[in-house]
Amino acid sequence: MSDFKKYQCSVCGHIYDEAEGDPDTGVQPGTRFEDIPDDWRCPECGAEKSAYQLMT
């Protein structure tokens, strides 16, 4: 799949890459950003999922 997207936390700059997921917080590689649970937090700074923005 080549259309994985990246999202960046607007508080700390952490990048969520759909291809890599975030295994440490239980998000498997290949998980679409919209499929991450709403109560998921930025693993770096604890910001809400809504603090992330699509990187262009």
Partner: protein
């Protein structure tokens, strides 16, 4: 309510935005020595392997914060706190002004700690504490890349920042030698087993790691800077990463109670009831400084809620798991704190 905040890191900015969201009619002024906008400090550690970082590191220009009705005074220094009349003196290149506050929030963060024996040589080495430092380092490095050369780096300090920077320079293709005083890397954050893993990963990425080193000072020889350990080892550049020092000078001058940081109670209040501190500068009653991004943001949001009358319990440190940004490294055990 007139709120004055000093510092534009994650502590100061998160507090300002949250307090603005809770108190529409408060007057919020944030004073900062920075002039580049609100940027990601964690990304400084990836400052060499990331192209175009000078722009991409900026998360929010100061004008965006001004649009949120937060008055930002940038490229400015607070030179004094007058507790008796509750004002701060703000110095900008072209003017000096006096600003009244009802509540003052100290969030100046920390500077690089330079061990006393290194201080006479300050113009011989770099530090990496902020975006201004990173830009200087990148300009220096670009000078070599433009001539199709790679600078050879000596990095002093195998703690968290030293390991991150050495790793990032090495994966970017530069030769790096890392000097560490202790007998294992990141001994303050890692259990011995994880230090071994880290050592192997650093070496695999091409970093020459020297442990049990006693660096006495530096010397200049032509274009090179030598690290002096009894023998003289020449490098194109030396970077010192030997810890951080909370910026407590203003608080000291104002007569606040100080330990390693500015002493606060469990409500982040200093020894002056109108002055609060958070982030790297705040020393909690347990003696700890919560100098990691997650607890700092947590303090900032808590304090905004508290001052807006929406919190009545003490601040409690959240569960957090710091992580060094060393390429390819995962600790098997939780970090020590």
């Amino acid at each position: 309510m007139r709120i004055v905040i000093i510092g534009s890191g994650v502590g100061g900015v998160s507090f300002a935005e949250k307090y603005r969201a809770l108190q529409a009619d408060a007057q919020i002024t944030l004073i900062t020595r920075e002039d580049d906008g609100y940027y990601s400090r964690p990304l400084l550690s990836r400052g060499f392997s990331t192209d175009n970082i000078e722009q991409s590191i900026i998360l929010k220009p100061f004008d965006k914060l001004r649009d949120e009705n937060i008055d930002i005074i940038s490229a400015a220094e607070v030179t004094a706190i007058n507790r008796a009349d509750r004002t701060v003196v703000v110095k900008r290149p072209d003017q000096e002004s006096v600003l009244p506050y009802d509540k003052l929030i100290l969030a100046q963060g920390s500077a690089a700690f330079i061990p006393p024996p290194f201080r006479p040589y300050r113009d011989l080495f770099f530090c990496l504490n902020n975006l201004v430092d990173l830009k200087k380092l990148r300009r220096f490095r670009q000078g070599f890349l433009d001539r199709n050369q790679r600078p050879a780096w000596g990095v002093i300090g195998g703690g968290l920042i030293g390991c991150e920077v050495a790793s990032d320079l090495a994966v970017s293709g530069d030769p790096v030698t890392l000097y560490h005083a202790a007998d294992r890397l990141m001994e303050r954050q890692l259990v011995p087993e994880d230090s071994v893993t880290l050592l192997n990963i650093m070496q695999d990425s091409g970093v020459a790691v020297l442990l049990n080193q006693s660096v006495q000072g530096f010397s200049k020889q032509g274009d090179k800077v030598c690290v002096e350990t009894g023998v003289s080892s020449p490098f194109d550049a030396v970077l010192v990463a030997t810890g951080f020092k909370p910026r407590t000078e203003l608080a000291v001058q104002a007569g606040l109670e100080i330990g390693r940081g500015i002493k606060v109670n469990q409500r982040l209040q200093t020894s002056d009831e109108h002055i609060y501190a958070l982030g790297d500068v705040a020393e909690l009653p347990n003696g700890k400084l919560y100098a990691f991004i997650l607890p700092i943001r947590n303090q900032a949001l808590w304090l905004a809620g508290f001052l807006a009358g929406q919190e009545n319990k003490d601040w409690q440190p959240p569960v957090f798991n710091p992580k060094a940004k060393v390429h390819g490294f995962q600790a098997a055990h939780p970090y020590l704190f």
